[in-house]
């Protein structure tokens, strides 16, 4: 396998009409599927977003474009969904909330996802990710499961973006899929008007002992993610443009 890495290079020929016409399209990879709900991991950050959809044929690993309305609980109700391509791997950024023998439960956005590990974790051993650890998981889709391929921890001193529902303002508590996280507001910092129940997006500084200090907070908006991934056969190629047939969508 050889890689040709090209930085901001040339244009794909885009023949998916809806992609350019969708002002609030969210693009992401399906990482979980429940009745009427799919969970997408979006953008380079790999944050999870829940989408309410009519029952249809989406598989784990499908790269989709969704247009819809964000509901109060943070879920997006899709009015349109297009499958763009299918990928084998995805990135999920989140925090380990539970460690199981063969899996970890990871909170990302409003969702808690189960990521299977290739080897068993012994509770007494310190291999694998620890509860409370933040990082970026690279996962592979295997037989309807997410299987951990790689994990890059985020430095405990690093700033992390989280999305959740505001539980209370003082103390500042945000719920990630029912998991309350208390965030310290530095003295002198003035919070914008916030209402419990609203969806918020925060940057927090993660410290030792799973403490979080607020860096910034804002109302969560629909993301307009632009990242696209496709696999397919080349149908034409020049020095400035390449066209790929990605199975139904030419790009």
């Amino acid at each position: 396998m050889k890689w040709t890495a090209l930085l901001a290079v040339a244009a794909f020929l885009l023949a998916v009409g809806s992609a350019s016409a969708a002002p609030k399209a969210i693009k992401g990879t399906v990482v979980a599927k429940r009745a009427h709900i799919i969970v997408l991991t979006t953008g380079r950050k790999g944050l999870a977003v829940k989408v309410r959809v009519a029952p249809r044929r989406v598989r784990l690993g499908d790269r989709v474009s969704v247009v819809g309305k964000r509901l109060r609980n943070g879920t997006i109700r899709a009015s349109r969904l297009h499958v763009l391509s299918h990928v084998k791997k995805a990135r999920i950024r989140g925090m380990v909330v539970k460690r199981l023998a063969h899996a970890v439960r990871v909170a990302s956005g409003h969702s808690v996802l189960t990521i299977h590990t290739r080897s068993a974790h012994a509770a007494s051993r310190h291999d694998g990710e620890e509860k409370g650890e933040l990082g970026e998981f690279e996962v592979e889709f295997e037989h309807g499961d997410l299987v951990e391929d790689d994990f890059t921890p985020v430095s405990p001193a690093g700033t992390v973006e989280i999305e959740g529902v505001l539980v209370s303002v003082s103390p500042l508590v945000v719920s990630l899929e029912g998991l309350p996280i208390e965030i310290t507001v530095p003295s002198g910092m003035t919070l914008p008007p916030l209402t419990p129940g609203q969806e918020v997006e925060l940057f927090v500084q993660a410290g030792a002992g799973n403490t979080f200090t607020l860096v910034s907070i804002g109302k969560a908006d629909n993301e307009d993610e632009n990242e696209v991934e496709a696999k397919g056969t080349v149908t034409s190629s020049t020095t400035s443009q390449i066209t790929i047939d990605a199975g139904g969508a030419r790009r």
Binding site: M1, A5, L6, A8, A10, I242
Partner: protein
């Protein structure tokens, strides 16, 4: 924009990544897949 893509034979299986900026899909990474499958050890 200053870079030239390698010309790839029609029918080659590739994996491509890109970003859309102002409606233009710009290639950021292109991976040419071999035919022999491989173990996929990533």
């Amino acid at each position: 924009m200053g870079y030239q893509l390698p010309v790839i034979a029609t029918g080659t299986f590739v994996e491509a990544r890109g970003v859309t900026i102002n409606g233009v899909l710009t290639l950021t990474r292109l991976k040419i897949e071999d035919d022999d499958g491989g173990g996929g050890d990533g």
